[in-house]
């Protein structure tokens, strides 16, 4: 095992490790204006300077610092932060953050969830953070979420807002720009945009000087027809092509997209949990988690190969014992683009047989080893390989959980979960673990071995991976 670990870290030498650096600016929408403060990346965590943040939010405070801790008085509230401690004391109540508070260049910096867990939840300072983690909205106005979808046989791009919004729409050459002024906007996702040849890119540009959605059109688009559907909170963009231009993709456009080709998927690992003497959960007499997981994994492999035209490998193809390190090493050495592990759930507490997606999380209070070492080191500890892919894993988990909610959980709006999972923490690609159903629920026991149910599970997971692919493959 030691040899494999050394071999893995050697292979990881080609991959960039987490670096501590100035990662740009963090934008806050506050009182009808946009203001920005520096943003730091330490490992995979985003940090913000605490004092700059309080000043930006115009919160009157007093500061008292000593070796190792700082006390902030905000009105009647008292905050006590200790260096390298992820627990913050708010009026003698402990609040756990995702990462420890620390000091960088004599500035106290806090992880991003300080905004939601301390300011918003504990101190009732209204602030919400966008899903991207790059912006926040303070005060009464929350983010307006934008979804992009291509409709009407790929001819019209529809931008749906979650609430009434007004934008200044203009076309600048091959760019269509929707400028939102000081309205807090976040981009919730796109559907079908990747495969449309007349849209080159779609991006939300936000800074102190700009807050706009930019749509880059293909060269063969002469003009764009834009409409505002005020009653539906939507905008539409329809391409007007050059006369004589065919609807088929321009071959030269493919040559102009070498970056996309470089990110093209080619390998997926599907892992059936447990195996051999490790039977997993006993679902019913003679039916164990390892058997159900393998059956679903085989079906999922077939579904993914058919839909995505990529190589799909099972970490175990038979009922055999296989250590977690072996599964991890195989996926990492194959440089798999995606890893999905299949298990069944078991809890006496929940009466319903809900299915959940899980991503890795690190043990609370444990700081990243890569932070404490040379930040530019190319070597990553075995158990931290997932850190660089965690953001993608969480997006994958969102897709998987959404599909499972739709197909398996009866429409329940359940969120994916995070756990200190041995298997996921060492994988160097987007990775999720799914727990299907609940072995203690009789209805689940009755159907778990049936072909239709297993086919449904495989189809659900395949659909989720298919939705995730364009998000990940896009450069």
């Amino acid at each position: 095992m030691l040899i494999k670990a050394l071999g893995f870290t050697l292979c990881m030498a080609l991959l960039p490790a987490g670096v501590s650096a100035d990662a740009g600016r963090f934008l806050v929408f506050h009182k009808q204006a946009r203001k920005a403060i520096p943003r730091l990346s330490i490992g995979l965590e985003t940090y913000l300077p605490l004092i700059d943040l309080l000043r930006l939010l115009e919160l009157p405070f007093a500061e008292s610092a000593s070796a190792g801790f700082v006390q902030i008085t905000l009105g009647k509230n008292r905050l006590r932060l200790a260096k390298d401690d992820s627990q913050v004391l708010v009026n003698d109540r402990k609040i756990a953050l995702s990462a420890p508070v620390t000091v960088v260049k004599n500035q106290w910096v806090v992880p991003l969830d300080f905004l939601s867990k301390v300011l918003d939840s504990a101190l009732d300072v209204k602030i919400s953070v966008a899903a991207s983690g790059n912006t926040a909205s303070a005060g009464e106005s929350d983010f307006t979420r934008l979804n992009a979808k291509v409709v009407e046989t790929n001819q019209v791009l529809r931008l749906q807002a979650s609430r009434p919004i007004s934008a200044e729409v203009r076309q600048q050459g091959s760019r269509v720009v929707l400028a939102f002024g000081n309205t807090p906007v976040e981009f919730a996702g796109s559907e079908g945009v990747q495969g449309v040849e007349w849209i080159r890119s779609l991006a939300l540009e936000q800074s102190e000087s700009t807050n706009q959605l930019v749509i880059e059109l293909a060269d063969n688009v002469r003009n764009a027809k834009m409409s505002h559907l005020a009653s539906q909170n939507a905008y539409t963009v329809e391409a007007v092509r050059q006369e004589g231009a065919e609807a088929t993709p321009d071959p030269s456009a493919d040559l102009a997209r070498p970056v996309t080709e470089a990110w093209k998927w080619r390998h997926i690992t599907v892992d059936a949990g447990h195996g051999g003497p490790d039977r997993g959960v006993a679902i019913k007499e003679h039916v164990f988690e390892k058997d159900v997981a393998l059956a679903i994994a085989r079906k999922l492999r077939w579904a993914l190969e058919t839909r995505l035209r990529v190589t799909v490998v099972l970490s175990r193809a038979e009922d055999q014992a296989q250590s977690l390190d072996d599964r991890i090493a195989a996926a990492n050495l194959a440089r798999s683009n995606l890893f999905i592990s299949i298990h069944t759930g078991n809890t006496a507490a929940a009466p319903a047989a809900y299915s959940y997606a899980y991503t890795a999380r690190w043990i609370l209070g444990e700081s990243s080893v890569s932070e404490t070492r040379n930040a530019r080191s190319l070597f990553v500890p075995w158990w931290e390989a997932q850190r660089n892919s965690l953001a993608w894993s969480e997006r994958l988990a969102e897709c998987v959980q959404a599909e499972m909610n739709r197909s398996l959980n009866g429409g329940q709006p359940l969120a994916f979960r995070r756990s200190p999972l041995k298997l996921l923490s060492a994988l160097a690609m987007p990775a999720v673990l799914v727990e299907i159903g609940n072995a203690q629920v009789p209805e689940f026991q009755a159907k778990v071995e049936s072909e239709p149910f297993q086919n449904l599970v495989a189809a659900t997971l395949a659909a989720a991976v298919e939705k995730f692919r364009p998000l990940h493959e896009r450069p």
């Binding site: 988690e289 298990h343 507490a349 609370l364």
Partner: protein
């Protein structure tokens, strides 16, 4: 020998036998009264070195909720106060293994035994459990997580000198407890799963 003498000797022998038996039985009863049998500590391989007359103190034990799979609920118990954090910790583990006295799920399989427990100067508690903790664990990711944090939080919340907990199985680091959660590194307290403010008082002691 005349018959009446023979009968007399037999009678005397029977009386003597009865008297000797009574004597030994009486002796045993007196010994039992003076030196009672020590109560077995069923969950500990080595009983904690705590005086039976030591004062009681209340501790908070964490058990998986039977209402929601992402929650731990708190129960209060009494243990004998000791000067050594390891001895308090052993009693806490024994109480955890003995199970909830409310309608909560078991934190550990009842077949589990604590092989050893010690606390380092750096605040690390090393908890060595028998393999039954793994063999009889019902499985499932959330149940496994609940087991781990039931042990970790029960120790860190009640013993100030314990900051982190490392769980061993049969004296060695284990890959996982039931196939999911990484056991190779120590855990810190995590109260995010805990229902705060809900306690069920119950008395008891080792």
């Amino acid at each position: 020998m005349p018959r009446h003498i023979l009968f007399g000797l037999v009678f005397l022998a029977l009386i003597s036998l009865a008297g000797v038996s009574y004597y030994y039985d009486l002796q045993k009863r007196i010994q039992d009264l003076v030196r009672p049998e020590p109560e077995p500590a069923p969950y500990l391989a080595v009983p904690p070195a705590v005086s039976p007359s030591a004062p009681l103190r209340k501790v908070k034990l964490f058990f998986p909720s039977s209402r929601q799979d992402t929650l731990l609920e708190v129960e209060e118990r009494d243990i004998r106060s000791s000067e050594l954090p390891s001895e308090d910790a052993k009693q806490i583990l024994a109480e955890l293994i003995s199970g909830s006295r409310g309608r909560r799920l078991p934190a550990l399989p009842s077949e589990t035994r604590l092989r050893e427990l010690f606390v380092t100067a750096q605040g690390l508690a090393v908890v060595d459990l028998t393999q039954e903790a793994r063999l009889y664990h019902p499985g499932g990711l959330m149940m496994e997580l609940a087991t781990i944090y039931a042990v970790v939080n029960s120790l860190t919340q009640n013993i100030r000198k314990i900051d982190r907990v490392q769980i061993l199985i049969e004296g060695a680091e284990a890959e996982t407890l039931a196939g999911h959660i990484d056991l190779s590194r120590p855990f810190s307290e995590d109260l995010s799963m805990t229902v705060l403010g809900e306690t069920a008082k119950s008395s008891g002691g080792p």
